[in-house]
Subunit: 349 residues, 4 copies
C-alpha cells in the first residue's frame, strides 16, 4: 500500500467518548487519515473543537480540531467510516451508510448479532470477514467490534479453546468507568463504592463469545457451544476491565500447557504486521498480584491482553484473571485493527 497517500476515513459519533478515542488513535495512523467528523444535528455545522467536550489527556489533533462537523448521513468524503454512535441511533444510520456503499466499522452493539455481520476480533476470527460477501449493501458493508468486556475475555479464551476445548466459562468483571461513556457514572455513585450492575452487559458477555469463537460454515456462523456465565460490576478505575475467569476444558491440560498456549499465541494481525496490532496479543504474568488495571492497561499500545494468577479451580478446571484496555483494545483500537485487517486482506480496495 502506498502510504504517501493515506486512506481517507470518517468518524460517526465523533464528539462522543468512543468517537474521541477513534480520533486520538487515528491521529498519527500510518494508513488512515480522518477527513470527516460527523455527529448529531446539535453539533453539525460547528468546528470540531467547538462542538466537542474533549475528555482525553492528549490534546485534540490540530487538523481535526478545525474540521467542520457534519451530520450522520451517507454523504461523506470517505469510503470508510468508523462508528462510535450511540446504540439509540447506530442501527439505522449504519445501515444507511452501508447501503450507500460505505464500509462501516462499528463499535456499537446494534448489528453485532446480525447473521451476515462479522463480530470481528482480528486475532480470533479473521475468516469471518467472508460474511460481508453475503451482505446486501450495494458494495458497502458493516463489520462490528465486540463489547469491551467481551474482547479481553475472548482473546484469553481463544488459545485455550483451540488447544484444549472449552466447555464452561465463568466470568466476574470489575469494569472501568470509561466503559460507561461520558459523563457516564456519577462520581457520587462510585467514590467509596462498587456498582454491582451494568445494564445489558452480562447478556453480551454470555452470548458474543459464542459467535466470535464460532465456525464459518457455508456462509453462516455456527456458534460454538460453551456455557458461559457472567457477572458484571463497575469499580472506581478510569480505564481497564479486569475479569476473574474460570474454565472447564474438554481435554486435560497442565498449568504449563495453558501458559504456553497463551504465550505462544499469535495470529493474522501479528503475521501481517498490522500497524495497530500488539506484538503479542497475550502476556502472562507470574507475580501473584499482577496484572492490575493501573499498571498494565497500556501494555503494547493498550492492544494486548494481560493474564495472570492461573491456578486450579475446585469447581471447574482452572481459574485466572484477565485485563484489557476497554477503550483501546475493547473499542476504538479494536475497530481500527479490524479495518487494517480488511485492507490487508483485500476486503477494501
Amino acid at each position: 500500500m502506498d502510504i504517501t497517500n493515506k486512506i481517507p476515513v470518517g468518524v460517526l459519533g465523533a464528539t462522543g467518548s468512543v468517537g474521541q478515542k477513534f480520533i486520538e488513535l487515528l491521529s498519527n495512523h500510518p494508513w488512515f487519515e480522518v477527513v470527516e467528523v460527523a455527529a448529531s444535528e446539535r453539533s453539525a455545522g460547528n468546528l470540531y473543537k467547538d462542538a466537542v467536550n474533549w475528555i482525553l489527556s492528549s490534546p485534540i489533533p490540530e487538523r481535526i480540531a478545525n474540521l467542520k462537523v457534519k451530520i450522520c448521513v451517507p454523504d461523506l468524503d470517505s469510503k470508510i467510516v468508523f462508528s462510535g454512535l450511540d446504540s439509540s441511533v447506530a442501527g439505522e444510520i449504519e445501515s444507511d451508510f452501508a447501503k450507500k456503499g460505505y464500509i462501516v466499522v462499528s463499535n456499537s452493539k446494534n448489528h453485532r448479532m446480525d447473521k451476515d455481520v462479522p463480530l470481528l476480533v482480528p486475532e480470533i476470527n479473521p475468516s469471518h470477514l467472508e460474511l460481508i460477501k453475503t451482505q446486501n449493501y450495494n458494495g458497502g458493508c458493516i463489520v462490528t467490534n465486540p463489547n469491551c468486556s467481551t474482547i479481553g475475555l475472548v482473546l484469553a479464551l481463544k488459545p485455550l479453546h483451540d488447544n484444549f476445548g472449552l466447555v464452561m466459562v465463568n466470568a466476574v468483571t470489575m469494569q472501568a468507568l470509561s466503559g460507561a461513556g461520558y459523563p457516564g457514572v456519577s462520581s457520587l455513585d462510585i467514590v467509596d463504592n462498587v456498582i454491582p450492575f451494568i445494564s445489558g452487559e452480562e447478556g453480551k458477555l454470555e452470548s458474543e463469545p459464542l459467535k466470535i469463537l464460532g465456525e464459518l460454515n457455508s456462509n453462516e456462523i455456527v456458534n460454538t457451544r460453551i456455557k458461559i456465565s457472567a457477572q458484571c460490576n463497575r469499580v472506581a478505575v478510569l480505564d481497564g476491565h479486569l475479569e476473574c475467569v474460570q474454565v472447564k476444558l474438554k481435554n486435560k491440560a497442565s498449568e504449563k500447557d495453558l501458559i504456553d498456549a497463551w504465550q505462544n499465541f499469535s495470529s493474522e494481525p501479528q503475521k501481517l504486521n498490522l500497524p495497530t496490532a500488539p506484538l503479542k496479543p497475550i502476556y502472562y504474568f507470574t507475580e501473584d498480584k499482577y496484572p492490575q488495571p493501573k499498571i498494565h492497561r497500556n501494555l503494547d499500545k493498550g492492544m494486548a491482553v494481560s493474564v495472570g494468577r492461573l491456578r486450579k479451580d475446585p469447581l471447574l478446571d482452572y481459574k485466572f484473571i484477565v485485563l484489557s484496555h476497554n477503550t483501546v483494545r475493547g473499542a476504538a483500537g479494536g475497530a481500527i485493527l479490524c479495518a487494517e485487517l480488511m485492507i490487508s486482506k483485500g476486503y477494501i480496495k
Copy 2:
C-alpha cells in the same frame, strides 16, 4: 443479668485497627465495659490515647482514652478478653490467656481451625459452642470469629444450605480497604486500580464455611461437604465486602424459594434479643443495582447481610450478590455477638 453492673472485658491488640473497632463498638455496650486495654510492649505503659493512632471517625471514648495500656500477658482484671491481635503473635498469647482461665473471643485466624475451637457465627452454628467443653484450658476457653469475607458469605449460604442443600459455591469478592488493617494498602496501589490478590484470603474462604456449616457430632465438628471456589480482589472502598456468588443446590428451588429462605431466616441471636444482633440477619433487595457498599454496609447497625440480584445461573443453579460490613459484622461486631451468645446461653457465668 444485672446490667447495672456491667461485665468487665479487656481488649488484646487494643491499638490496632480491629482493636479500635472493638473499643468503639463496646463503648456504649449494655452488658460489657472495657476495663483493660493491652497491646505490644511499645505501647504498654502509656495512656491509651497516647499509644493509639486512632483512625475511626467517632472520637476515642473518653474513659478508654485514659486507661493505661498493659502488655498482653494473662494478668488483666477482666475474665473476658476480645482479641484483635495480629496473627504473628495471636496464637500463643491467646493460648496463654485461655490456660490462665480467661475467656478469649478472638478475631485472629490462628485458632480458627483447632479441632476443639468453635468457629462461631451465632446465627449459624450456636451449638458449636459445646466444643469449648472439650478444651483443656483450666476453665478458660477460646472462641473464634471467621474471616471477614467468610462471614457475609456463610450467612447468605446458611438458609440455602438448610432448605435446599448446597453442593457447590463459587465466590468472587471485591473487598474493602479496612480489611487490610492500618496503614494496610498504600494509596498508590489502589487509586484508579484493583488489586486482584489478597494473601491467604482465598484459602480461608474456601475452607472456613465447611467448618461453620458443619455438624457437631460427639464433640467433634464434621465439616459439611460443599465444593467452594473463591477469588479475592481489593477495591477502592473503605468498608464493606461485596461478593458475587453462584450456588448449585441439591434440591430444586425457585427464585422465590430462595428469597423466602433469606427473608424468613432468623436465629438464636434474634430470639435471645442479643444487644448486637441485627433485627434480621439477611435483607434481600429487589433493585438491580443493590446492595452497594456505600449505601448498605451500615444496615441494621452494620450487623446485617445484604443480598440482591438473584438470577438463574447458566453454570450452577443460581447467582446473586452479598454485601456485609467487614469490620463490624466481619470482625469486632461479630466477635462481640459471640460473647453475648456465650453469656446468654450460660457458657460464661
Copy 3:
C-alpha cells in the same frame, strides 16, 4: 409549642439531592412533619418512591415514600415549605409561594441577595429575620440559607469578626462532590483528579459573607466591609467542604485569643436549644492533621464547624482550616435550623 401536633411542612424540589436531604433530616424531626412533596411535572402524580432516584444511604422514610408528588404551585397543605429547587426555576416559584402566604425557607441562590430577604445563619445574624417584615408577600415570606461553602467559612469568621474585627479574608476551598448535586460531577472527571473551577462559586463566597456579617439598620442590611478573595476547587470527597483560610484582623490578637473566641462561641440556637442546633457551633482541633472531611464532617449531627491548624501567616495575620458538612450544615440542615429559629422567635405562628 405542642409537639404532639407537629407542624406540617412541604418540600419543593423534593426529588433532587437537596430535597432528599431535607426529607431525610426531617424524617424524625420533633417539630416538623413532611406532608407535601412537590417537584417538576415529570414527577408529579407519582408516588414519591417511584418518582425519586434516592441516593442517600438511609432508606426513604416509609411515610414519605408513599406520598403523591405534587407540582410546585402554591396549593399545598402546609404553610411552611423548604425549597431545594434548582436555581433555574426557584426564583419565580418561591415568589409565587410567598405571595400566596407561604413561608419559604430556601436553599436556592435566587433570592439570597434580595434587599428584603434575610440570608440567614441562625448563629450569626438572627436579627436579620426582622427583614421579612419589610417583604410585600401578603403574609408569606422568603428566608434564605447561604451557599454551602459560605456557611462553614462565615461561622468560623463570626467570632473573629466580633472580637477582633476582620479586614481581609482569603479562602481556598476543596469542595465535596455532593455540592454539585446528582448526577453532578462525572466520575471520569474526578477520579485521580482535582477540578480547579466551580462555576459561580467564588463570587458567592466573596459576597455572601458581607451580607451575613452585615448590620441591620432601619430595616436594611448594611454590608460589612471586609475584602474577601476566594478560589474554589472540586476534590474527590463525597461530603464535607474543607477551606484554607487566611485573615487580617483590625485588632491585635494572640493565637490563644482566636482559639478562645471559637471555643466560647455560642449563640441563639444554642440558647434556645433548637432541635437541629449543634451543642457547639465550632470545634477547634489541636492535632496538625485535623480536621479532615471523612473524620469530622458528621460532628455534632453534621451541624458543627471544625477548625484547626491555626498559625501565624506571613502575609495576613493568621491562617487556619475550616471544615463543614456541605449538605447538612451547608444546605438542608442549615435551612431547617432557620425555620426552627423562626418558630422559636415567633416569626411563624
Copy 4:
C-alpha cells in the same frame, strides 16, 4: 559530545520511589547510562529486580533489572550520581561522595540550603552553578533540586518576578500521593478525604523560592525578598501537584502582560536544547477548568508547568493556578535536567 559513548551514571537510593523514577527516565537517555544502582545494606548484593518493589507502570528496564545493587559508599564506577536518598541518610552519604570527587545531583532536602550548594532549576538560576566552585569537595560537588511543590510554583513565578517584580506570594497546594513516596499515604486516610497537612512542606515552599530566585553576588546567593505564605494539602491524586496562587507585584501589569510573560518565557535549557528540557517551560490555558492533574501533568514529557485561571485578586493583585508533575519535573526529571545543564555548560568534563 560523543553520544556513542554515553556517560556512566549511578543512582543512590535506587530502590526507593524517586530512585525508580530516575531509572525509568534515564532508561533511554541519549547522554547518560545507568551503570550503578546503590541502596541500603538490606538490598545490597541482590539483583536490582529482586531488591526493588517496582511501582511504576513501565517495566523495569531490562539491563538495570540485572545490575547488582551496591551499598551507598563512594566506590562506584560512575563519576555522576543521582541521589534519591531518604533525608534521614542523604546528608552524610552525599557529602561522602562529593568528598571523593563524585558529582552528586540530589533530590533530597539535606544540602539544599547549604550556602555553597546551588538549589537549581535550570530555567531559572543556571548562573547559580558557579557556586560549586566554592565547594570544598576535592573536585566533587553537590547540586540540589528543590522540593516538588516548589518547582512548579517557582517556574510560574520566575517570568512574573523578572518582568514585574514580586512582593507577595500566597500558595495553597493540593498535592499528589506520589509525593509521599511508597507506601506513603495509607489508602484509608485518603479515599473520600483530604489531609490538610504535610509535615515540613509549608516551610520549604516559603523558603526555597527565595534562594532560587536570589542573585549570585560574589560567590554568594543573596535571597530575593518576597513574602511567601503556603498551605499544603494532600488529595487523592496519583501524580501532579496543583496550586492556587496569588501574587502582589511591584509594577503594574495587565492580565495580558502576565500571560505574555509566561508564554514568552524560555531559558537556557531550551536554548541549549537539553534532552530533558520541555519545548516550553510554561503553558497557559484559557479554559476556566484547566489545567487539571489527570489531563495535563504529562504535558511536554511531564517537564512543563501548566498555568491557568488568571484573574484579578481582591487582596493581592492577581490569582491563578499552577500544575506540575511532582515526580518528573518536581523530582527525578528536574534533577536530570540539572545534570544535563552542568554537562552542556562545561561544569562536568
